[in-house]
Symmetry: C2
Subunit: 401 residues, 2 copies
């Protein structure tokens, strides 16, 4: 017998006025979220003018989520539908008027100094595809009460980034100073007056080895200069790590002995039991886990051949394979991966062709990474609702007529 | 001694007011083209509202070219900067309001009928990256007078497409009728009144074997529904073939014994000697050739390490490698390919890091495909100025200060 979590039914009932048994019930539907926003559907807050309203859920004036079924099968996520999560108000458009003039201070190297983006472009270049995912993506699937945006699946996308490898910058500036354990990046947002900077600044530290092996300072996203709203003119990109570590409008990159003292590093983005305060000895939101979810169909479909779509990624590791179940996890079939393999840190769309007779099917997916780690069935609660990846609650009910 | 073609100097002199020796002279520069358009820089004709003006050259109300240095290193070309070439006025936006409702008539199969995009989506799916390139890309580099847009390098881009393989559609409709040698696709444009349809209709035939092996009917481009201006709601995508065969707003796909009688197939897009009329026995603009070009720098650079960028593709074959010369083709060094390999029909950005002292360098690139075919040095003239790929004239002069 299939045991469906309490929340599955609760949200389904709220979202579809009790029609859970006869129509599709994506877990958590737009009505449950609408109260978060003052915007009606079809309009977006000012900074999001070029985004496509129909493909996005508005959580707040600074926060947009991609609709679950807006993710297609191309592999990359278009900027027009990419989620937005900003911890502070977006800087002025002026900073992207002349991207090459943007300056970033490099510290903790033997020859520390300020370098412009124009200069970075002569130091080296690499292109990498990465999943960009908010730490709280899936928060809305937890049973316990959490603060913060109640993201479902759509605080994630897959992008192509071009920029200079962190190691090339370090080499150009004489190499690392001794004893540097972390790369600490500071965002270029204007900070509110009269507030202790360490309380509000976006400043994140990550292990220096990962930064030196995989990190880049990116000026290009999906073939264009990085848009302001996504961190242009220069964004830190840390493949395999959660979005918060991909610091926007980066103005300082310091190789440090210790992690930053900023609140966003010291106590926020820490995984801990429900009810426990954040502290530096708890795991920070760095490496992402293996994960996948079904994207379509999210509406009734006709019987016969039904194509079940989704996206899958390995997190810190490469994706190995993904399986799909149409009976809530009793039986699994390997899905077909679609399109080019964009590399270890990218996601890949998948499809399973299923012959389905009329009825309701609980469809879900389960990815396995290159280290043999299988996507978890259930994600244990944590205080802030981070790191959700449980395949059971990520399921959708598909009604075949 | 380096022999520089006449046109190289002519255009350079026109574009830079005689300063050819002391500053960069991309071959054919914006001033030489401005007379084609009534639009000033910074504004685009109405249908191109979402495009980025700074990255585009306006050839006409229906024709936009990507600036040579707007192509980045991500591998894919963003829709905002992708070239546009339409043979007829763009249909109404209404046709993309409900993409799944769009109908296409399938003929030359055992069970011919009209199918909707919604239905196509249940027949199969594949994702492929392809170079989309106008047959006349590079026309402006020929010495002889040609009619049509004087494209330089920018009537080309690289996209990710998702749609149903042609073979899956054929299979769903009972298989091919006997003796079908071509796939003939008809565009959905409104045709002008009072004109013989065959004179104006966009209808292209391609060999059926290639269509069955590689062709798709695409509803998604770069992660979004195909935009109207690029052929949405449904576009034929023929990997490895010139753009004209990638029929937009396709309303009919017929498997035929003979090639279409439409002018655009019978006499247009035929390669023939200068002064000779088009005829069906001349080669049609089908397969693309191996090609590459330098994209940056296109302005003076400082001496020291200079990163030389470009894009390269194999055309009908996969790309094997690309070399770069900084002395007009006397010496060559293998360039480094950037980012994920997007597959046989995609282009890939490349970079060569060169240590350059002050001086002027003639920088060019030369690609080799998986069959060992090397990009040609010179493209022989043909009447319509198609199929340009000669690396000598594609060179740029880079001044290092």
């Amino acid at each position: 017998m299939l045991s469906i979590p309490r929340r599955h039914f609760l949200i389904a009932a709220a979202g579809t006025a009790g029609a859970a048994a006869s129509s599709l019930t994506p877990l958590g539907s737009r009505p449950a979220l609408a109260q978060e926003s003052e915007n009606g559907s079809g309009s977006l807050p000012e900074p999001f003018g070029s985004k496509i309203a129909d493909s996005l859920i508005v959580h707040s004036e600074l926060t947009l989520e991609t609709e679950r079924d807006a993710i297609g099968t191309s592999g990359i996520t278009a900027k027009d539908i990419l989620y937005v999560r900003n911890n502070l108000p977006t800087p002025s458009e002026e900073i992207v008027a002349d991207p090459d003039a943007w300056e970033v201070q490099i510290e903790g190297v033997r020859e520390p100094r300020s370098v412009t983006v124009g200069e970075l472009k002569s130091m080296g270049v690499e292109t990498v595809s990465t999943v960009l995912q908010c730490s709280g993506n899936g928060r809305g699937f937890f049973d316990h009460e959490t603060s913060g945006s109640q993201w479902l699946t759509g605080a994630a996308g897959n992008l192509l980034w071009s920029g200079v490898p962190v190691r090339d910058v370090v080499e150009a500036l004489g190499g690392l100073e001794d004893g540097r354990n972390f790369m600490t990046s500071t965002g270029g947002e204007d900070l509110p007056e009269g507030v202790d900077e360490s309380q509000v600044v976006v400043e994140r530290s990550i292990p220096v080895d990962h930064a030196m092996e995989h990190g880049i300072l990116a000026w290009e996203m999906n073939g264009e200069p990085v848009p302001l709203i996504h961190g242009g003119p220069l964004r830190v990109v840390i493949p395999g790590y959660y979005g918060i570590n991909n610091v926007k409008y980066v103005r300082r990159v310091a190789f440090t002995e210790e992690e930053s003292d900023a609140s966003i590093m010291r106590t926020s983005y820490r995984v801990r039991p429900v009810g426990v305060e954040g502290a530096p000895d708890q795991p920070s939101m760095w490496e992402m886990k293996v994960k996948s979810w079904i994207t379509r169909p999210l509406a009734d479909v006709e019987s016969g051949r039904v194509l079940l779509y989704g996206v899958a990624f390995g997190g810190i590791n490469a994706l190995e394979r993904v399986e799909v179940s149409t009976d809530g996890g009793e039986n699994w079939q390997e899905a077909r991966l679609l399109g080019p393999d964009l590399g270890r840190f990218a996601w890949q769309p998948f499809v399973l062709s299923a012959e389905l007779e009329p009825g309701t099917y609980t469809v879900t997916s389960r990815a396995t990474d290159s280290e043999g780690r299988v996507q978890e069935e259930v994600t244990e609660p944590n205080h802030r609702g981070y790191d959700y990846s449980g395949w059971r609650v990520l399921a959708v009910d598909v009604t075949v007529v």
